[in-house]
């Protein structure tokens, strides 16, 4: 919004048009003129104006009609009405039709310039807030906020700080503060400000003058403190501070004046609101994708059920007949060996069908308070010894104590943990370590019990990390993996209203986290 505003001047009296157009041009505005309502409307139809000054009493089409037409074409344009005989009636009518303000004729140039300035300012704010509210991607939004503030307030640097999930303040975006020392000083000053505001249960704007010279900030790197005048504006949501915008002028600049502060305040509430919108939008998107996922699951469930049924008869025949021939074959013959392979293949198919069904199973299952540590212990009974002895995978247990119980189905959760453990085993053929950690977490006020499985395998390739929960997705060689293990896990965990997530560890290996809603 750095361009000079464009203004349309409309009056049937030539000398007024000339006076206004010259005066405004001198002040750097771009000006177009029209001598009656019709001409004004057609000009406004061809190009966009920021502001229009329209005389009310004109031949052919009067000012009020022109105002209506122009607003219809471009609701953003701010219109100032000039009323000749100053009857309140016409003025009120024009305000009702959306005029920004009105001036009485005859007027001084300086008087109209002041109104124009205000109208232009309003336009700018409208444009900025439109940009802010039409942006739903948080990152773009932050950029718009910071850049607009740089322009509007003629600031040298602007930073926007938010809280991370661990409730630590961080610099989400900053413009103008070139190096890390400067950025860091701003962050530290912002932290101090928020602490001060919280202590005094305030959320008002804080002004600082040369904080570098202020003894109370002595231990905050004075080296990076080139701030001459600083504004610290808290962002709030329902009276809670959710972040802060810091706006600074450095060097030999002017003090922020009253109208600067006014603008900053308006900005603060705009930005808070927009951030909240962005957050809601993100939540909406998440819910949507969960719904889509649930729908996919249910379609797949029906498909799986039908498929299992259709395939079970032929498969049964293959198995039965194979075994019948096996009974009459020489155990040393090649035929016998081949038939044994066929028999094994059928068992493999049987296993695929049953995991497909258990992944997609729609039937109810019994949720009761379960102890997550107990379920994992029980699962380990099935596989731990074999893993430690045969595969040299060391299993390290870090179980949380006094954990709340989870709402769960013991058998199905065993299935989930067994799949995660065998996956870990499969990615560490030459041995390694599997750490199983249990604990609790809080999310939006909901309590969860968590189990984290951390292995020392190669980790999950970044390009497939989004796909590993898809049914039939596998990187194992043909015949070795069904690609159903993780989708079974996800199906079960989702039916528990829980979450399962895959990430890569800080050093190496994959990390799978299962979160289940806690009882109470």
């Amino acid at each position: 919004m750095n361009h000079k505003a464009k203004i349309l001047v409309v009056d049937d009296e030539q000398h007024i048009v000339l006076m206004l157009s010259d005066g405004l041009k001198q002040r750097g505005y771009k000006v177009e003129t029209a001598f009656n309502g019709k001409e004004a409307v057609s000009k406004a139809g061809r190009e966009e104006f920021d502001v229009a000054i329209i005389d009310i009493k004109m031949p052919e089409m009067d000012g009020i009609a022109a105002l209506g037409e122009i607003k219809k074409m471009n609701p953003e344009v701010e219109v100032i009405m000039a009323t000749g005989y100053g009857t309140m009636g016409t003025a009120v009518e024009s305000m009702r039709k959306g005029a920004f303000d009105y001036v009485h004729k005859p007027f001084e140039l300086s008087e109209i310039v002041r109104v124009v300035e205000r109208a232009v300012e309003k336009r700018r704010f409208n444009d900025i807030s439109r940009a802010i509210f039409s942006t739903i991607e948080s990152n773009d939004l932050l950029e718009i906020i910071v850049n607009s503030l740089m322009n509007v307030l003629k600031a040298d640097d602007v930073s926007l700080m938010l809280f991370d999930p661990k409730n630590r303040l961080y610099t989400a975006i900053s413009s103008g503060a070139s190096d890390n020392v400067r950025k860091n000083t701003r962050l530290l000053l912002s932290e101090k400000t928020i602490a001060y505001l919280k202590e005094n249960s305030l959320n008002s704007l804080v002004l600082m003058e040369e904080p570098g010279k202020d003894p109370q900030f002595k231990n905050i790197a004075t080296a990076g403190c080139d701030i001459k005048f600083g504004i610290f504006l808290p962002l709030t949501e329902e009276d809670k501070i959710i972040g802060l915008i810091n706006i600074n002028r450095t060097g030999e600049s002017e003090y922020f004046n009253e109208s600067d502060l006014q603008r900053v305040k308006i900005f603060g509430s705009l930005a808070s609101l927009a951030l909240r919108n962005a957050k809601l939008y993100k939540q909406l998107q998440e819910t949507q994708s969960q719904l889509i996922q649930a729908e996919k699951m249910s379609a797949l469930g029906q498909l799986a059920g039908g498929l299992a049924h259709e395939i079970s008869n032929p498969l049964s025949g293959i198995l039965g007949l194979t075994q019948l021939i096996l009974e009459n074959s020489e155990t040393a013959s090649q035929n016998y060996k081949d038939l044994k392979e066929i028999e094994k293949a059928v068992f493999r198919c049987k296993k695929i069908i049953s995991s497909l069904l258990s992944f997609a199973r729609q039937d109810k299952f019994s949720l009761e308070p379960v102890n997550i540590n107990e379920i994992i212990e029980e699962t380990l009974v099935l596989c731990a010894r074999q893993m430690e002895v045969n595969q040299h995978v060391k299993i390290v247990k870090r179980f949380g104590e006094n954990l709340p119980r989870a709402h769960g189905d013991f058998q199905q959760l065993m299935q989930v943990f067994l799949n995660l453990i065998t996956n870990a085993r499969d990615v560490m053929p030459d041995g390694g370590e599997l750490t199983i950690e249990t604990g609790r977490s809080d999310e939006n006020g909901r309590k969860f019990v968590t189990a984290v499985f951390r292995d020392t395998g190669p980790g999950i390739r970044q390009d497939i990390i989004d796909k590993i929960f898809d049914p039939f997705f596998t990187t194992k060689p043909v015949g070795k993996g069904t690609g159903l293990g993780l989708s079974v896990c996800m199906g079960i965990v989702h039916r528990h209203n829980g979450k399962i997530e895959a990430t890569n560890g800080a050093e190496k290996g994959a990390v799978f986290t299962v979160s289940l809603p806690a009882c109470e």
């Binding site: 059920g305 079970s312 032929p314 025949g317 198995l319 007949l321 075994q323 009974e327 039937d363």
Partner: protein, 122 residues
């Protein structure tokens, strides 16, 4: 000895291997290709055990079992089913059948189940 076994399944492949698995073991075997012919057979002859598929084109398995229980009270029933869905499980529970196998099953499984069921009802 010489117990009479009725095998009911609309899939020839299944009828074929089940009857071959049970042949040569002293049973008299009969097969039915659907529910209505099974009922017709049971109206004429007595059986010692029936092996019955659940999903069939005409009369469903549960209906066949109900009729069997009326025609020949106390007859043991073995269900063979392509899925253990909720509805199949419900039939198995409500009908109080003597045995059930999920397809695909092997010849040893059906042999030992038939033997077991017959031993219990003797």
């Amino acid at each position: 000895m010489n117990e009479r076994v009725l095998i009911i399944d609309d899939d020839e492949l299944v009828r074929n291997y089940v009857s071959r698995a049970l042949s040569g073991r002293g049973f008299t075997l009969e097969t039915a290709v659907n529910g209505s012919s099974a009922v017709a057979l049971m109206e004429k002859e007595k059986f010692d055990v029936i092996i019955c598929d659940l999903k069939m084109p005409d009369i469903q398995g549960d209906e066949v079992i109900k009729r069997a229980r009326v025609l020949q009270p106390g007859i043991p029933v073995i269900v063979i089913s392509g899925s253990m869905s909720e509805s199949s499980k419900a039939v198995i529970n409500e009908m109080k059948v003597e045995g059930a196998l999920l397809k695909p099953f092997g010849i040893d499984e059906i042999r030992s189940l038939v033997d077991e069921v017959l031993k219990k009802t003797q």
